[in-house]
């Protein structure tokens, strides 16, 4: 029962480097989301997707790109990392249109030096 899996769990980057966070879910959920968590600010939505091949901007999309080429995967990319992107990133998924809960991954801690 994997649920939502994020890789990697931890990463340290230098300013200007690029990286991709992978989110995979095995529940056949339509909707997927990327959030970032910062102290005192709760979780803020970066990008989301309501289906394969579709993506949309959330509250804090600048500096990030996403892709949803397969229904089960949602990738978050940082093209040129900045120290302001140091954060804990959470992926989540849910069945579209349901009253059900959001299922979260375990989070990925990213540090940009």
């Amino acid at each position: 029962n994997a649920g939502v899996t994020q890789t990697p769990k931890f990463r340290v980057l230098k300013t200007g480097q690029s990286m991709t966070l992978l989110c995979a879910q095995d529940m056949n959920h339509e909707y997927m989301y990327w959030y970032r968590q910062d102290p005192g600010m709760g979780l803020r939505l970066i990008h989301y997707s309501v289906g394969e091949g579709t993506t949309a901007k959330g509250e804090v999309p600048d500096g990030y790109n996403v892709s949803r080429l397969k229904k089960q995967n949602f990738l978050l990319g940082l093209e040129s990392a900045a120290p302001s992107q140091t954060s804990v990133y959470f992926c989540a998924s849910k069945k579209g249109g349901s009253t059900g809960e959001l299922f979260f991954g375990e989070g990925s801690r990213l540090t940009v030096l």
Binding site: Y31, Y33, Y48, A56, G96, T99, E101
Partner: protein, 115 residues
């Protein structure tokens, strides 16, 4: 845009006592969902309780209950018989019924349980 506010950055309670965490929200929608999530040190986000706005009855889950005041846009969480395992960050969240159902989170309240 919808907003969620948790005005208590930190709370503490004695083990076995009752504690209430506050949450207010702002929306122009008449139907929506409200949630409380728990985040222990493991960082995992765990759903504690869910309320559907069209239901007037307050949701309960064992020792956890809510006081949902729709007119006041208030959604507080009561934890009865507090246990050491309840120590965590607690997040209040709002979701619309329609569209992408994007969750909007409050800032969080860190709950400490004193033995």
């Amino acid at each position: 845009a919808q907003t969620v506010t948790q005005s208590q950055p930190e709370m503490s309670v004695q083990e076995a006592e009752t504690v209430t965490l506050s949450c207010t929200y702002d929306t122009s929608e008449s139907d929506y969902y409200l949630f409380w999530y728990k985040q222990p040190p493991s960082r995992q986000m765990i759903l504690v309780i869910r309320q559907e706005a069209y239901k007037q009855q307050n949701a309960t889950e064992n020792r956890f209950s809510v006081n949902f005041q729709k007119a006041a846009k208030s959604f507080s969480l009561k934890i009865s018989d507090s246990q050491l395992g309840d120590a965590a960050m607690y997040f209040c969240a709002y979701s619309p019924v329609q569209g992408a159902q994007k969750l909007v989170f409050g800032q969080g309240t860190r709950l400490t349980i004193n033995p």
